[in-house]
């Protein structure tokens, strides 16, 4: 029987600072065991438990696209109270950590084929959404999907992630990238404004469109309200939830929303599903 609690060994091959505050880093991992690399087949929106023996484990969304076979990427924010994130940020290229995954349900990329995609990402929650954008825009996949609209929101320019990636994305066919920051700043040529009002302005037609939202709770709420106003289908508004996790495989009882576990049945839930799940628990 495979032991789902035992991590695989991975090595840090690259570390990139993602923001001015330097508390957001993107880590590239390579598998130590080539069999693990082969077996690690994931889809956009799935996550993995990153593990440091002696410290602990925590879940992180996979930031790289499944089309990228050589490395797995995660963008991780350091929280002062976070045991694992602090230790991870103290590591260097060449250090080894553990990885358990892929876990979770991921975005239903097969179901979304033939549809348009609207991505709305706030702050560093953009991480798995960037995986979706890379996947959709890959030459092998582009023709399977319609128009791609991506709205990336951040507090300030220094906090905007993946700016180089977004410059690349803009060049693709039938693709629109909108970046917005909360308040005006010097040298900022893109939009200014909170995610929800900007979304109202730039949202594409809801017809045949899936909306993928991820970000801080207030952003998710205000943007979802905008999408509902614009008549988006409630089972086509997809959220990726986060909760504190321990096992990541639906056994430790910690991360449930209603009767579903965010780790095993999620983290991706449609708005329609969430309404049903939170019926009895008011969350």
């Amino acid at each position: 029987m495979k032991n789902p609690y035992l991590p695989m060994s991975v090595t840090i091959s690259k570390i990139n600072f993602e923001n001015k505050a330097k508390d957001l880093k993107t880590f590239d991992f390579t598998f130590d065991n080539p069999d693990d690399a082969k077996d690690f087949q994931f889809i956009c929106g799935q996550f993995a438990m990153i593990s440091i023996d002696g410290i602990g484990e925590a879940p992180f969304g996979i930031a790289s696209s499944p089309m990228e076979k050589k490395i797995i990427q995660f963008t991780i924010k350091r929280y002062p109270q976070g045991l694992l994130t602090t230790s991870l940020h103290n590591l260097s290229v060449g250090d080894k950590v553990g990885l358990r995954g892929p876990l979770g349900n991921g975005y239903p990329m097969k179901k979304i084929q033939g549809q348009n995609i609207l991505i709305v990402g706030g702050g560093f929650a953009l991480t798995t959404l960037r995986s979706v954008a890379q996947y959709v825009l890959h030459k092998d996949n582009r023709s399977n999907y319609g128009r791609l609209t991506m709205l990336a929101a951040a507090r300030e320019p220094g906090e905007m992630l993946y700016r180089d990636d977004m410059t690349e994305f803009e060049k693709a066919l039938n693709t629109e990238i909108i970046q917005t920051i909360d308040r005006p700043a010097e040298d900022w040529t893109h939009k200014v404004g909170f995610a929800a009002p900007v979304l109202k302005e730039v949202a594409p037609s809801p017809k045949d469109t899936y909306a993928l939202i991820c970000g801080p709770p207030i952003m998710i709420k205000t943007c979802t309200d905008v999408l509902l106003e614009l008549d988006f289908d409630t089972d086509k508004i997809l959220n990726s939830l986060e909760m504190k996790m321990a096992c990541g495989i639906g056994k430790c009882g910690r991360c449930n929303v209603g009767n579903k576990y965010v780790c095993k049945d999620g983290p991706v839930f449609s708005y329609k599903e969430l309404l049903e799940l939170t019926k009895g628990c008011g969350l």
Partner: protein
Amino acid sequence: MKKLKMINKKDITKLLDELAKNYRLLAPVEKDGIVNFTEVQNGQDITLDFYNSKEPLKKLFFPQSETLYCYSKEQGRTVPEEQDKRRKIVFGLRPCDAKAAVLLDNVFDGADFKDPYYLEKRENTIICSLACNEPQTSCFCTSLGLGPGDKDGSDIFIVDIGDKYLFEAVTQKGQKLLDEMTGTYEPEDKDIKKAQTLITESENKIKKQIETACLSEKLDELADSPIWDELAEKCIGCGICTYLCPTCHCFAIVDEASDCKGCRVRNWDSCMFGNFTLEASGHNPRPTGKERMRQRIMHKFNYFVKNFDANACVGCGRCFRNCPVHNDLIKVIEKINNAKSEPKK
């Protein structure tokens, strides 16, 4: 190969002594006034004159602290192995606890992920349950589809009929063990009838009831009900109800290490603890006792029902008997069934 066997009470110690030679025998042992399932070498150390063990059997398959793996620079990660690989027999378990293990199987023997630590122990254990001739005043198993004579989850089912025990093989595993037992003989019809009568009498002694017919649906309408504030107000937020509940299964995973070596361990945790869902950012989706109490009741009587078509409760009454403020689940359910619908706004 006979399904039913009898043994005289005076021969039971000898039987247990023999079983203890080839198996690891766990039976009820009294220590300082508290009965718990303990490994014994001698049949005489046990007591079968008890209502129920203080701690539930889940401890056997899902220990309170369990090493998932050890790590060191030299050896990398190693999963610890059981030193004594003999099969285990649990003797004298009550039907509610046996059923609880069946309920927990839904979690640990999931379709998508299997828990090797739990399953290996489960597979390696033979459960010999003892019918309850004398339920406790706090028992309400009959409301949950079980009873003092329920055989679900047992490999061998035992009934105390006075000066003898009647053994019945319920599964193949149980039959195999029953065939090995010495000092047994075949029962007569009157023995079998007596066992049935005792069980029926015992069922009739159970006075407490909960109504579960529409409970799950009702709970979906109580998201914003003030009933949760009321229930949570006297709760002190300790872990007794969850730790002593045979069907609760929450756990935390921690690392215990020093000097480049250590272990990753899982420990029982409780959804009633304040920091259970506390995130590193400081945000807590269940910030007060009210949300936690609601989560616990919803999990047992709504979420588990939706996921596995069963209530996560066997009516053993341990939560009530041991709660420092005597929170009574029976009264809680009654309040819920009678509460005014107040769905999420």
